[in-house]
Amino acid sequence: MSTETGTVAGSESSRIHNIGYRSYDGRRLGRGYARRSLYSQSLRGAFGLGRSAKSKVLPMLLFGVMCVIAAIIVAVSINVPSATKLLMDYTSFAIYLQAVIGLFLAAQAPQSVSRDLRFKSVPLYFSRPIERVDYVVAKLAAMASALFVLTGTPLVILYAGALLGKFDFADQTEGFVQGMISVALLSVLFSALGLVMAALTPRRGFGVAAVIAVLTITYGAVSTVQAIAWQTGSGGAIEWLGLFSPITLIDGVQTAFLGADSAFPGGEGPGAGAGVVYLIVVLALVAGSYAVLMRRYRRVGL
């Protein structure tokens, strides 16, 4: 403070905003709070909340589509006089609507991570109390939660409808719980893969394309080869081919453990033994994605 303070502060423009500085003596909630804030901000952001009206359109539209379809299934099921259960299994819902889920992920994963990378905001995070692991975990958890909301809410609608339709309670509850576990797994797997693709492609457009490619091309390839295998009578290959695309992985796991009917050709889903392999592959993919993300953010630190 020894030097003259008036030298540069004396100009008119800088004196105008001299309205007295108030220091902050309040609480600083630290790393855990920052991580939770990042999580909630990212989760809200995935649905366009707290962002511009334009960015709400797509996620809300997709969310609406999921819920409306669930409501229609409920309405039809209840109005079929002879029906004793819903027209669609809880576990089948996400498989049938995988395109909608894929679109949501493709639109929101780049929004969640590519923005920070592309506009180089990441150093601002890492110059604060949170660490790399907090950032990655918060982003992953937020994306998984967003997908879980997207895929779980229709199941809740289905379940509520089923109860209204006075279908068998125990039966429905079991299916509902199995469905929820399945979509939880799907949410974690999809968000991990989606974030990796998005984090590796800082340009948003490429990120969208990369996510869609990973989900649809692998599914297209797997189901085509499976169909060929079915036609040529080599049914044994079908259950192993399912390991090569995210959605068939989920299909395999829920067929093996969650009482689902497989969507594989001929219903040739994996049994319990192959199911363990499916589960291991799913968990390995999630862990691998986490490792890739951690690596990615080590490079962009500051």
């Binding site: 180089k120 150093p123 109390p129």
Partner: protein
């Protein structure tokens, strides 16, 4: 505020910092060095984001190796590069960053409004950042570094990309961060001339080693040097030369290369540097100019510049020092610096 002890950082092929020992107190401190001198590496280590190869460093009395998170809670950082998403408003962005620093939601909003006003952003803070000018973006970047009321801010090249007016405003703002807000500042630049206007203390590093660390007033006492520029007239086609002869006859000492500014700048040959023995020197200059019937363009006190100190010592800082030039050549210098 900051203390390092034989701090070294070696990468496989480069030594970024080489046994650097610093002791930086409160106030505004300038960290000068050419590109690649180790400024950014030092900042990374000070924020606890990159372990030092050897040596120790402490910020606010906390060891960077063990208390990184605690340091980062109390320190603000403004990166050199662009770091703002274009699709959110300054308010939303700074609120988010305040929460990332650990401020509760209400406090984050209040502090954001305050801080943005202090850095000079008013109504425009509700508009998306994408539409801001470079100067406004720099202010947002500064605001996000200040929003959690840190005890120390690290500003990495805050004047980068600004025009001369924007630079002056930013430097004024930086000065106020210390004088009005009571926050100590470490500001990096590769421009010596810029920092001597803002800093209490200047640290020069080059090639990862400490070149010099001392207070700005040590570098630049206001010495009795007068810069005089006059017009030509019909009777004296070379007004500068005529004045020089008159002043020499009057017994006034001319400094430098025959009294001419030796900076070698275009137009510098028109400036006479005169040693002012006292108030009477001003009178002699004034009377001499009037006697010759010339117009007096300027007569100003000139401070010594940090750069001159290095030049005189023949220190290896010449690369840095050469970038600094007199304030009188203000606009020209700024252009030269940027090219």
């Amino acid at each position: 505020m900051i203390a390092t002890e034989s701090l070294s950082k070696r990468f496989p092929r480069v030594t970024a910092l080489d046994r650097l020992s610093l002791d930086i107190g409160p106030g505004v401190t300038g960290l000068v060095g050419s590109n690649g001198a180790g400024k950014s590496t030092l900042i990374k280590i000070l924020l606890g984001l990159s372990p030092a190869t050897e040596g120790r460093a402490a910020v606010l009395g906390l060891d960077v190796a063990t208390s990184g998170a605690a340091i980062r809670e109390r320190v603000g950082y403004m990166p050199e590069h662009d770091c703002l998403p274009p699709d959110v408003s300054a308010t939303e962005f700074v609120v988010h960053m305040a929460r990332m620093s650990g401020l509760p939601p209400t406090a984050a909003r209040e502090r954001t409004a305050d801080t943005l006003r202090h850095v000079g952003l008013y109504e425009e803070r509700y508009r998306p950042i994408g539409g801001y000018s470079t100067g406004m973006k720099q202010r947002v970047k500064l605001a996000q570094a200040l929003v959690h009321d840190p005890q120390l801010v690290l500003l990495d090249e805050p004047t980068n990309g600004l025009d001369p007016v924007g630079r002056d405003e930013m430097l004024g703002l930086i000065r106020r961060v210390h004088t009005d807000f009571g926050i100590s500042v470490l500001v990096t630049s590769h421009l010596l001339g810029e920092l001597e206007r803002t800093c209490d203390h200047v640290v020069v590093i080059d090639g990862g080693t400490l070149l010099r660390s001392s207070s700005t007033s040590d570098f630049t006492q206001t010495t009795a040097t007068l810069a005089v520029e006059v017009t030509d007239s019909d009777t004296h086609p070379d007004g500068t030369d005529a004045l020089r002869q008159v002043l020499t006859r009057a017994g006034v000492t001319l400094i430098g290369h025959d009294g001419l500014d030796a900076q070698g700048l275009p137009g510098a040959g028109r400036i006479l540097l005169v040693e002012a023995a006292g108030d009477e020197t001003y009178d002699i200059v004034r009377d001499s100019v009037a006697g010759l019937g010339l117009g007096l363009v300027r007569m100003e006190q000139r401070r010594h510049h940090i750069a001159e100190v290095f030049r005189a010592e023949g220190a290896p800082a010449s690369a840095v020092a050469a970038q600094s030039a007199p304030v009188t050549a203000g606009l020209r210098t700024e252009e030269g610096e940027r090219s």
